[in-house]
């Protein structure tokens, strides 16, 4: 059989591997996780710079932006569209789902690799291909897509399309290539997701019952299930949109009998569960970090999981709250308002449980814990303002204003940034064998937190005042040119610049720590879960002998265990 199916060879460190098979086409889940995470961080930076560029236009209209030049309406729209696309599909998904899941799942369940290592490697390279197609889309004649990340037809079906130009010319346009890139990215994550689910179900350590599986893995698996069930209609819808562009079909063209609202429904049926797909892993990461740094069990662990499962289901029936003003049937608007308000209940429960986990704990504020705390505090702001948007009546006024922008940045930045950073700082010692610099880490946190609040909080107020989204220059809108709103635009831009600049501290920290950080040892945080049993960094095959699991993951400060405030899962 091929060497990568032979468990003995895989678990020995000495088999011969060429450079390509060791570093490029590696089948090792830890390596694939690094590939996903690094690609994700690079694209997060690109997406962030796009945002800084268009925010500069908003604060100082007509300015000559370094590296970009003066923006016109089309270029502004391109930056806005691709900022969101990149952040969702080439930053959040690879970091929070693919990178996190690939690194953490086999280690935490005590096995040597994923269920399908070859499929795992293929999914990364399909993902990489999708990133290449995305970058190509920016270079096409006419530029990248400029339709908003939501790609609503008829604009997205006709932008840069010449009906007489033929298939190939219309395929090589920004909008068409973007659709293709997104479809490839979906395929990659779908294939990776199959790996996660089968591995968790089938390859757990001896004695690990479902409730002994750490919460972060539950969350990643639930997110994968949500993704799998919701992406189908959008794949169908995206193919139909692509066909409208390249084959001149009429799926979304009202003159041909098509319906633009159909695309909206297809898009948001996926688009809404997608935000929970990125949220759940963030909640999971925080659920791992809080017990470790409070030295006590996670409060209501079983109920957190039950609430996560129910929210994953409810997430599938709230989608049209993005379409309240699109002209949908008012009776459905009523239904979706109700389900949207209901979905706040399981998440509120989880937030309360996380807060309750602090009570009576011995709290140690290391960098991962700081990021986790920041997540809990700032996500609350985002979550609560979501309820305002969820009421159809109020949304009539708030839709497409900066209130919504502030809401979703107060949810997405805590989820992806704060949650992702918490995970990065927490598992960096395991992945590289070195500790990160605490001082730099804390500085990184406080600057990012400052940047987030300076950027997003003022936008609630300008949004409430009617400042509309996706406008490149407010000169034509006199009510938006009053002093206090102009000041808010300035503040938000400075906040965005601070967020971007603060990430340089992260890069410095990573480079410094990876080469000369303090050696971490196996279990620097004195945590219970199985990944801390392996060496840092774990070798091929992860564990010298496969561990068994004797208890749940959060047995901290258990009175039955004398002499130690933690009780690892693999010790009798």
């Amino acid at each position: 059989m091929p060497w990568w199916r032979n468990k003995e060879i895989r678990m020995s460190a000495h088999h011969e591997q060429s450079f390509l098979s060791k570093y490029v086409f590696s089948l090792d889940h830890k390596y694939i996780a690094k590939q996903y995470t690094i690609t994700g961080i690079v694209f997060a930076f690109i997406g962030g710079l796009f945002a800084v560029a268009f925010r500069m236009q908003l604060a100082w209209p007509g300015m000559n932006i370094p590296l970009v030049g003066v923006l016109d309406g089309m270029k502004y729209n391109m930056l806005v569209t691709n900022h969101a696309m990149i952040m969702f599909f080439w930053a959040a998904m690879p970091i929070m789902i693919a990178g996190l899941g690939n690194f953490v799942i086999p280690l935490m369940i005590g096995t040597d690799d994923m269920a399908f290592p070859l499929l795992n490697m293929l999914s990364y390279w399909i993902f990489f291909l999708s990133a290449v197609v995305l970058v190509l889309s920016f270079l096409m004649p006419g530029g990248g897509a400029a339709t908003g990340w939501t790609m609503y037809p008829p604009l997205s079906a006709t932008q840069n399309i010449d009906p007489d130009a033929g298939l190939i010319k219309n395929l090589f346009t920004g909008g068409s290539l973007l659709i293709l890139a997104v479809a490839l990215e979906f395929a990659a994550i779908l294939l990776g997701g199959i790996n996660f689910l089968v591995t968790t179900i089938n390859m757990r350590a001896k004695g690990m019952k479902l409730m002994d599986v750490p919460v972060v893995i539950w969350m990643i698996d639930l997110a994968t299930v949500d993704f799998m069930f919701s992406v189908g209609p959008l794949v169908a819808g995206a193919v139909m949109l692509l066909f409208d562009r390249i084959f001149n079909t009429g799926f979304y063209d009202p003159a041909r009998g098509g319906d633009p609202i159909l695309f909206q429904h297809l898009f948001w049926f996926f688009g809404h569960p997608e935000v929970y797909v990125v949220l759940l892993p963030g909640l999971g990461i925080v659920s791992e970090i809080i017990p470790t740094f409070t030295r006590k069990p996670l409060f209501a662990q079983r109920w957190i999981i039950i609430m996560a499962v129910s929210s994953a289901f409810i997430a599938m029936i709230v989608w049209a709250h993005h379409q309240f003003v699109a002209g949908i049937d008012p009776r459905m608007a009523e239904f979706f308002s109700i389900t949207t308000i209901i979905i706040s209940i399981p998440f509120a429960f989880i937030m309360f449980a996380l807060v309750a986990s602090f009570f009576g704990g011995q709290i140690e504020i290391k960098t991962p814990m700081l990021w986790a705390l920041g997540f809990v505090v700032f996500f609350l702001v985002g979550g609560v303002t979501g309820i305002y948007n969820g009421s159809a009546g109020l949304d009539m006024y708030l839709h497409d204003t900066y209130f919504v922008v502030a809401h979703f940045h107060y949810t997405l930045i805590p989820i992806v940034f704060f949650g992702g950073m918490a995970g990065l700082y927490y598992w960096f010692p395991k992945s590289t064998g070195r500790m990160m610099n605490e001082g730099l880490g804390k500085l990184h946190f406080w600057l990012t937190a400052l940047g987030l609040n300076l950027f997003a909080f003022p936008l609630f107020f300008s949004g409430l005042n009617g400042e509309h989204r996706r406008i490149f220059d407010y000169a034509a809108y006199q009510p938006m040119m009053v002093d206090w709103i102009i000041n808010i635009r300035h503040m938000a831009t400075i906040g965005a610049i601070i967020i971007a600049a603060a990430q340089l501290i992260l890069f410095i920290n990573i480079i410094m720590s990876a080469s000369s950080g303090e050696k971490a040892g196996k279990n620097p945080w004195k945590a219970n879960t199985l990944e801390w049993v392996a060496d840092s960094p774990p070798p091929h095959g992860n564990f010298a002998t496969p561990p068994s699991c004797y208890r749940g993951p959060y047995e901290y400060s258990n009175p039955k265990r004398s002499g130690s405030d933690f009780w690892p899962q693999n010790e009798q």
Binding site: F116, A255, G258
Partner: protein
């Protein structure tokens, strides 16, 4: 339903079920879109639209696909009995029947429809037509027809290649569990056709 817990299902089979669920939602998306549009436009049932499809050719194709599913299950049973010769020939039979299906669809049905002026974009047919007229709606039917049968055909190609890959990798009697996995994908193709055939050919 089995009493066996999901943890005891072999990982290849479990993985294939997740893949099938994922593919079902994708095709389900296409099917639901067509269904919504069909309810809206009875014109889809007219003689220029669904009426122009040859029912009996469709029935023959459906039977061919059905038989190919039977040959695939027989191949699976042969694999369980370790009868390598029978397994191989029935897998080849499945591939050949699948290719016959494609040949009829791509060699007869599609060219026949295109010759009558129904293409994927029906650009010539709709040139100059009034927005919202019946000609426009009929062209939308053909958009859906070519799109969905095209993707179904693509899955037959992928399925055939998969079965071929399994023939190669089981030639020495190893990896026999893969026969069932390739079979599951082939049955997915049948599942989709079971919905597509009545949707296009029968509801008119």
């Amino acid at each position: 339903m089995s009493d066996v817990s999901i943890e005891r299902v072999p990982k290849g089979r479990l993985g294939v079920w997740f893949l099938i669920a994922g593919e079902l939602v994708i095709f389900g998306g296409f099917i639901a879109c067509y269904a919504l549009t069909r309810f809206e436009y009875p014109e889809f049932g007219s003689n220029e639209a669904a009426g122009a499809l040859n029912l009996w050719v469709g029935v023959i194709n459906t039977l061919i696909l059905l038989v190919s599913n039977w040959t695939m299950v027989v191949a699976h049973e042969a694999a369980l009995e370790k009868n390598l010769g029978k397994m191989k020939s029935f897998m080849w039979g499945t591939i050949i029947l699948g290719l016959v299906f494609l040949a009829i669809k791509l060699g007869y049905e599609w060219p026949h429809d295109i010759a009558e002026g129904h293409t994927i974009s029906s650009a010539k047919a709709i040139a100059g037509a009034e927005p919202g007229s019946e000609v426009m709606k009929v062209s939308l039917f053909w958009n859906y027809y070519f799109l969905m049968t095209g993707f179904h055909g693509l899955h037959i190609v992928v399925g055939s290649l998969t079965i071929f890959g399994v023939i190669v990798s089981t030639s020495k009697g190893e990896n026999l569990h893969r026969v069932e996995l390739a079979g599951a994908y082939w049955h997915l193709v049948e599942l989709v056709w079971v919905i597509l055939f009545p949707m296009f050919y029968l509801i008119k």
